[in-house]
Every structure is written in C-alpha cells, then in structure tokens.
Symmetry: C2
Subunit: 278 residues, 2 copies
Amino acid sequence: MSPPRLTIGDFAQLTQLSRKTLRHYHEAGLLTPDQVDPASGYRYYSSAQIPTAQVIRRFRELGMPVPEVRSVLLAEVAERGELIAAHLARLEDQLLQTQSAVASLRRLLSPAPPAIEVRLRAAPAQVVAGIAADIDRAAVLAWYSGAMAELAALGVAEVGPCGGLYDNELFTDDHGQAMVYLAVERAPTVGRVRPIEVPAAELATTVHPGPHDDIDVTYGQLGAWVADQALALAGPVHEVYLVGPRDTPEESAWRTEIGWPVFRTAIGRPDGYPGGHD
Amino acid sequence: MSPPRLTIGDFAQLTQLSRKTLRHYHEAGLLTPDQVDPASGYRYYSSAQIPTAQVIRRFRELGMPVPEVRSVLLAEVAERGELIAAHLARLEDQLLQTQSAVASLRRLLSPAPPAIEVRLRAAPAQVVAGIAADIDRAAVLAWYSGAMAELAALGVAEVGPCGGLYDNELFTDDHGQAMVYLAVERAPTVGRVRPIEVPAAELATTVHPGPHDDIDVTYGQLGAWVADQALALAGPVHEVYLVGPRDTPEESAWRTEIGWPVFRTAIGRPDGYPGGHD
DNA sequence: GTTGACCTTCCCCCGGGGGGAGACTCGACA
DNA sequence: TGTCGAGTCTCCCCCCGGGGGAAGGTCAAC
C-alpha cells in the first residue's frame, strides 16, 4: 500500500504553512510536491515531506532568504553547517545593531542632550601604515577588527594614536573606501599593510566619549555644527582612537576623535531665501 | 543670519539616510523638509532636523514600521513611552521566536530523530471550566498565560490535568478559536470563565517531553503518523498539560499530551494514483 | 448526478525602499 | 552672461515574501 497523498490544504494544516506559501515554495523550487497531477494541476504532498517543510518554516522564521534556504536544503551535511553558521553570524550582527539602536535612542531621546565641543584644526599630511579596502557598510565592524588585528601584529613602534578614514559614500551608498592605520616612523609593506598618505586637511573635530553605540549622535551634532558654520564637507571622515579597545576593555573610558574635513564658503547660502529673512 | 539650507544630498550625508529614503519619508509625512522650493521642487533641510532624522533611522533599524515611527514622533512625551514599550515587547517576542526556531532546528537536523509513540484513544465528552477566545496566532502565548492565570485564580478543586483546544484555522489562517481549561467538578461562570463542553473525540495522542520550543516537530511526527494511517483530521487539536509550568519550573520535566481528533477512511486514497503503483 | 468543499491560475496589493531614465536647476568659473 | 558638470526633480519598474480575492476546474461523498 502506498502512503496516502496529502492535498495542499491537508499539508498546510500539518506543517502550519499557508497554501499560498506552499504554492510559492513550489514555484521557487524550495519544496516540490511529491506528485503533481498533470491534468488538473493538483499538488499532492507526502507525509515524508513534513519534516522538510518544518525545517523550511523555521529557517524562514530566522529570516533566512528563500534562495538561501534552498541551498541549505540542497547542500551536503558538511557544508550545511557553514551556511547555517553564516546565517547565525548575520543574526548576531542584527542583535548588535539592535543594541546600538537602543543605546543611540536613549541618548537622542534623553531630555538634556549635552552640547559638544568642536575644535577646528589643521591636520598635516602624514604617511602611515594602513590597510585600505572597498567594503560594504554592514561589513565595517568585522573588517575593522580584522584589519586592526593585522596592524597590531606588525609589532612596529607607534608614534601616535591609531585611526581610520571613512568615505562618505560608505554611508550614502552603503559601500565605499575605508582605511585604518597606525601612526609609525617608517611604514612597511606586509600582507595587506601599505604605506598610505593621509592628506592634509582642515578638520572640524570633536571627541566622542564611551562606546560607539551612540557615536552617530555625536556625528550628527558635529554635522549640525559644521552646517551652521556654513562650512562644506570635503572628503572622508577621520576617526582617531585616542583611547580604544587596544588600550582598555573599559568601554566607558574610550575616547574617539571625529574629524570632518571642511572648507569654507560652500554649503548652502547663509541668507536670502525668499521669505526666509528671520 | 538664517542658518544655511541643506540640500537633500548634504542632509543624506549628515544623517546616513539615502536620498531615496529621505524622499520617501517626505512623501510619507515622516520628515518634511524645512523648506521646499515651490518652483523647482528642491527640498531643503535644516541642521535642526538632524536629530529627528537620526531618531527615525534608529527606530527603523529596530524594525518599527514607518507609520508607527510617525506616531511616536507626533506623540507627546508621555504616550511616547508606551509606544516604544509596545515595540520593545514585539522585539522580545521576536527574540523568543528566534530561540524556538533554533531549538526546533536543532532537533529537526539532529542525526537521529527519535520515533514517537502514538496511542489512539477515545476521549469522552466533559464539561470544564474554560476561557475561550478568537485570537491571532502571534498572540497565543500572551493570551495563554493570561487565561491560565485567571483560571488558577479561581481556586477551584481540580479533578484532572488542565489543557487546551486550538482550532486548525489558528495555524492555517493565522487566527482562530482557542480555549484553555481546568478539569473541575462544577464549572463556574466568573470573569471570562465559562462552563464549556469538550466534545467526545477519537484522538491520536502522543506525549511531547520538555519545553514547547520544538513542539512543532512532535506535531509534525504525529501528523505524519495520522496521515500514514489514512486518517483524517477532524477538529481542534487537544493539548493536555500533564506536567507544565504550574507543576514545576524545570522545563525539561514538562510533559504535554497532544491529541488530534481523527476519523477513519477519509484523507487521501491509499492507492490507485496513475503510475504510482509501487 | 448533485453538491459543496477544495483546488487551480491570474492579477493586484502591501512595505520600504533601489535603479535608472529623462528633464530640470544650481552655483562656480570664465 | 554663458557654460558646464554635479546635483535634483519626477516617474516607472523592480525586489522579497507572500495575502486577498475572482473566475473557473475537480474531487469525493451522498
């Protein structure tokens, strides 16, 4: 006796997936019915497909995209682990992002947003030992820690704090050029490390204390200051890690200098908009 | 001197939102530019809007829908807390769901899925003290604990384990009828509690041990067994909490009987599909 | 044979934007 | 004052992962 065939409705009941979703998965090649009547087009599932459907449902609940679920199902057991691990890493990233968002909101919605102190200073050009790459915004954190580890492994004597340069495109287009560096006497060429010239710039700088969860708020304050001074942004933002994870695990002790290259007489017009003469 | 006007590109750079997104938020009434040139249609933002844009960005990163972000921004500080708390509760739900999905996947992908023992038994009709409601699938957990608490507060002598009935529509249509009950001598009418008759049924039952994270796997195994016996599902699923949170906080000690009402000679056809004579 | 529940395809809709076309505007520089 | 390139405008179609519902075909029970 062959096992009974389940109609899409029965199968939906057993797997807690909707009929619509099952049809969608059929179309997407994710879960093909055991049999399809060529005359009527009726889909028939087998009870052996229930576990598969459940696996799919659960991966989807974890936010795994449909094509990726398919490759997990098609993959051998060996690679399967990697795919799942990769997705779990993404979930962890999301969690970190959630934590940052909460910290940032706490500061943004707090009744008294403390004012920042901005200093305008001319930064001279310097040649540093840096690692540069074209990366996606989402990958910045992972890339940063990898690059910093490689720099630290150089074992070169440092003559100043380390820092980074981040293109504005990284934020507006979701990917762009990034660079982290150590200030050293003579920059070597080892692995990804190259001697890189940080060009001279007029920087509007402020110092962000503490962990970077809410650094965007400080960025915003600095940006508002720059805009209010009728200055224009001109180039990648500079970060200098005055006190960072390399110095202390105590996050509240961190101090990060943010420097935005600016030039005068460009952004907006200080006056003259019709009717805006207040 | 009036503050400079920021073009959409400048503002995008300062707030790390894309131009597309800013236009979208304008259209959605979420963030209206400080000025809009009626002739050219150009949008001009002010530096004072930077914090607002950041708040929006962060709420969006937390997955808050755009209309809800708008109401948070429009709300007075007093109600704002409630809206945010409600959203944080949703985030917590998501987290629980993620945990369940991981537990369920662990069991589904484990090499040796232990077989279940199914027992077919006739359950007699009984009148119980129950709380019934038409609810959404997502709300089941919250509703369950509330209803159970109300039942426990009755202080009535129980003559058997408590349980619940859950309509299949709850799973296929995402909302439906649910009921939880205590087995008592005489069912009172207090608050939401009513005397309810649980109708007699032929049940295919099995016992799920441990917490409910992976109970869907047991459901699937039971469903596969029922389908393979050429039985049809007939009515809401019965859950009996033989050992549950009311008995012990030790989740691994929980025992939940799942009973699916079945009737014979209905689902599928045991044989005869053209070409399927294996 | 009838009937009602079930199935099929098809099309449009949602949120939250992204990509790109084609046209217009801005401001800097000559 | 003209020019030119970068920036902006609107408009339309696209993505995912389905949901809602219409119009019509099928299944099996009685």
